[in-house]
């Protein structure tokens, strides 16, 4: 208790207490002068922009997190199996994480602008140019960007888990005639189950950070396919719609918290 006291104090002051104020404000009018009951929650749930943003955010998480978790695991196993160039590949895959958001935005623009590299390539190939940022393609650009940026980080986490698996298990399996695939499914996967929970949660939280790039590239009102909850919250804040922002934030926090509890329970049962 003594050791966690400083960080617990920080979390209380900078996270829990402000969040309690957010909960309080979600039951008040915008300027916090009048109690309105559940009106803000009803208003937010009926808000078309909120429904679209929540749908896009869920869709984004449902596509990105499994893809990221599976892809990074595969990469981790492959890189781990390399004897000599393992460090080089680790550096390569971690590099996107070190690139600042502003630079990522420049790369986006370079590739996906109406007169960017991809459209030039399409025109050179005799095809019609695509308005990447003003069509449904914008969502998939966001997905690719997220995967590109976070795969290296998750890969490192997986590799930490892989290093904890005793080599004896693989040797014994080899003696028993198990091939690499069977070793993966019967030794590697079960032994990584405990770290999967951590990676899942970190990936979920990282998925919210993709807003930075989306905002810098497409502004406050991007194409509807990449309009996320953060866009909406940001715009609500600008318009001083604090009551909606607080109600939306409380609902979002409840969903994430519920999801984490569910996963924890599921993991706990599986682990037992």
């Amino acid at each position: 208790m003594l050791f966690i006291a400083p960080s617990f104090f920080g979390v209380c002051v900078f996270v829990l207490l402000p969040f309690l104020d957010v909960i309080r404000r979600s039951f008040l009018n915008s300027m916090g002068s009048r109690f309105v009951g559940l009106q803000n929650y009803i208003s937010v749930l009926n808000n078309e922009a909120f429904r679209l943003a929540a749908g896009n955010t869920i869709k984004f998480a449902l596509i990105c997190i499994p893809a990221l978790v599976a892809g990074s695991l595969l990469l981790a196993v492959l890189v781990n199996s390399l004897k000599r160039s393992s460090d080089l590949w680790k550096t390569c895959f971690l590099l996107p994480l070190a690139i600042p958001a502003a630079s990522v935005v420049l790369i986006w623009k370079l590739f996906f602008h109406e007169n960017g590299l991809l459209n030039n390539a399409l025109i050179a190939a005799g095809l019609e140019p695509v308005s990447f940022m003003n069509s449904g393609a914008a969502f998939w650009i966001l997905v690719i960007s997220y995967l590109w940026k976070n795969t290296g980080y998750d890969m490192i986490l997986w590799m930490a888990g892989l290093s904890g698996i005793p080599a004896d298990l693989y040797e014994a399996a080899q003696l028993d005639g198990a091939g690499p695939v069977r070793q993966f499914f019967y030794i590697t996967v079960p032994n990584l189950f405990t770290i999967l929970f951590t990676i899942f949660i970190l990936s979920l939280l990282n998925s919210f950070k993709v807003f930075r790039e989306a905002y810098l590239v497409a502004g406050e009102h991007p194409h509807t396919s990449m309009y996320l909850l953060q866009h909406l919250f940001n715009n609500w804040f600008t318009n001083l719609d604090m009551e909606k922002l607080c109600a939306g934030a409380v609902m979002m926090a409840l969903v994430i918290f519920g999801l984490i509890l569910l996963l924890q329970r599921a993991w706990g049962e599986s682990y037992d």
Partner: protein, 743 residues
Amino acid sequence: MKRNQRIIKKGAAMLLCICLLFTASCGSGEEENRAMGRYVEHQFAFPVENFSQMLQRSDGSIDVYSAADESGSRYKRYNTMDGEKWEEEKVLWTLPADEYFSGITYDKEDNTFLITMQYDDQKIEASVYRAEAGGELKEIEIDWKDSTGAVPDMGLVDGIALTDKGDLLIGLMGAGVGQYGSDGTYKNYFGDSSRGFYGEFATDGEKVYLIDESSGEVLCYSTEDGTLLNTVAFDSSGDSTMIECGAENAVYLYNRNGIFRMNDGGSIWEKIVDGSLNSMTIPSIYFGFLIEGKDGAYYMSGSDGTESKLYKYVYDKDIATLPETELIVYSLYDNTSLRQAAGEFQRSHPDTRVNIQVGMGEESAATESDLIRALNTELLNGEGPDVILLDGMPVESYLEKGVFSDLTGLLADLSADKTMNETVLNTYKTKEGIYAIPTRFSIPTLFTDKSHAGEFSDLESMAAFAKAHADKPLFGNKTPKHLMELLLPSCAPAWINGSEMNKAGLASFLENIKAISDTPAASYPSSEEEEGNSGGYAVGMGTAGVSINKAKKNTEDLYHWAFGRAYATIENLTGKASLTAPILAMRKQGNSTAILQPGQAEGVYIPAGIAAINAKTELKESAEDFLKGLLSESVQSNWQDTGGFPINQDALRNLTEMREDDTYISTRGSSYDENEEMEGVMPAPEEKRLFEELCGLVKTPYRTDRTLAEMIIDEAQGYFTGEKDIEKTIADIEEATKLYLSE
């Protein structure tokens, strides 16, 4: 024993802490600790309206020279010791024929030295004279040289001063200062025009101080051998900075930020008079000469273009250095009226300091949204500025949330005088009250031939006219995007109401735009459009701005109309200064007139300078006084404010009746023909009266925001290229804007 010692130590420490706590919290009070003493401003009238120079005699009194006749060869002089009483004195010297007064200075014995200019078609000449006791002018032949040793351009000659040894110092505007002996022989040159741009200079008799505007430094030179002795950096942010020397060889810099003093041989500027606490901050007043009086006061001449005054700054040790209360005024953008109102407020409220906070300052890297969110955080905490200028902010949202005070009572007093444009004043009036008021407004205006003006009643009639007159376009640039940007202000109020959009109105708008655009007449798209970027239509800084490319001005259409290539042009008029080019075009066209821009809505205006008072302010009375100041005749009569026409009718009349017959103007060059030129004297009152009348005809505010306008314009492009029909276009616009409107 040890345990007892520990207890004693702990007890002593606790006692010490308590003592410290009490001494810190129960001090002798703020009142006693507050810094006292400040220079207070007093204003005096000059004995003459226009004068040429103000300078100081050896006895410390002040002389003012003014032309005594129209030829400008005879001068009269007025003298004062304290700025209050002036005595006229006879000037014995008379300038030679065809020579004009340029500058005057005295030596230690008050002998007069003059510099004059001669202008003819071929060249400009400068002459230097010493006035003898009897009034005779004895010319000093100057061996003119600049930093390169060549004879300088005489048109640059600006300012004369004397060293203690009687050497002449003659300034060259932007290029430096030459030092010449009393017989005119060249001695030294200060500054290098190839390296810097030099402003004013001053001398203490031994050294020359020269402002290097390019590096933001004051250069100190020796008059003995011309060497550079020292350089001292200064804050050049306060407009043009001037320099003067005073008693005990002190050096003074002065600009809108105040008067700064540096002691002889020093390297630090001390602000002795804070410009933000007096008239120095008022943008319409230009300050000229500074003199440090023998009484320790500072005397400055200032003029607002119509009247000159002597501003005297006297030290008052009994007044707080900084006023106890601070009225915070916030605006996203710098605003001339705000500064003007702040200066005038400061005069009448010496106990309150106006702190103008500008979000998008010159060095600000923040976006509008970032700044609004920062402001919102303060407002949510029950804090924030006392007065807010809402241009660029979500006005409607703020009004819904009850962020501001009700101004109904304040406005009732103002309305009683019947000096305000009631329509504009009540733009934001609701059942609950008036929580924000536009202090200015702009009017989108259509210019055309008098014979056609009656044919333009609405958007449909404009489209019908364009169809019936295919020989030339209605507007020079008739690309759909440009037309939409141009006509949206006068049409959108008819089909956008809050978060609802009327489909039929939008469809009519698009169809009529297409009709105007599709006529076979030639079009003159701007060079930016031809290169793939959109043209621009700047409509000021109001929240209603539809400005897509804010920096560009729609002057191309004006030229097309003025030179007969189009039937009409549209200009968004943002005040007196914006009338100049359109009136030149009207003169060029001959039989022309101006009407409020026709469209789907009637009598459209764009509110600007929207001011409100924070509901949580503790200085409500001061905030209301400040707002009254913003609407006062004196502040609204500021002709330099390009934020819109004043809503104060008296101020509007002042601007209309303002005569500037002696000012010649010209505008030149369009992308069609860069040699096309319009020139003439400034608009006369009789020409401006038409626009005063138009200001009185406004009915409908245009409050649609920029984001929405951009969405509509972007989504409609496919309709004009034929990619989609009107139903699909309307559906796409609805889809694109639905999200934004539903937020």
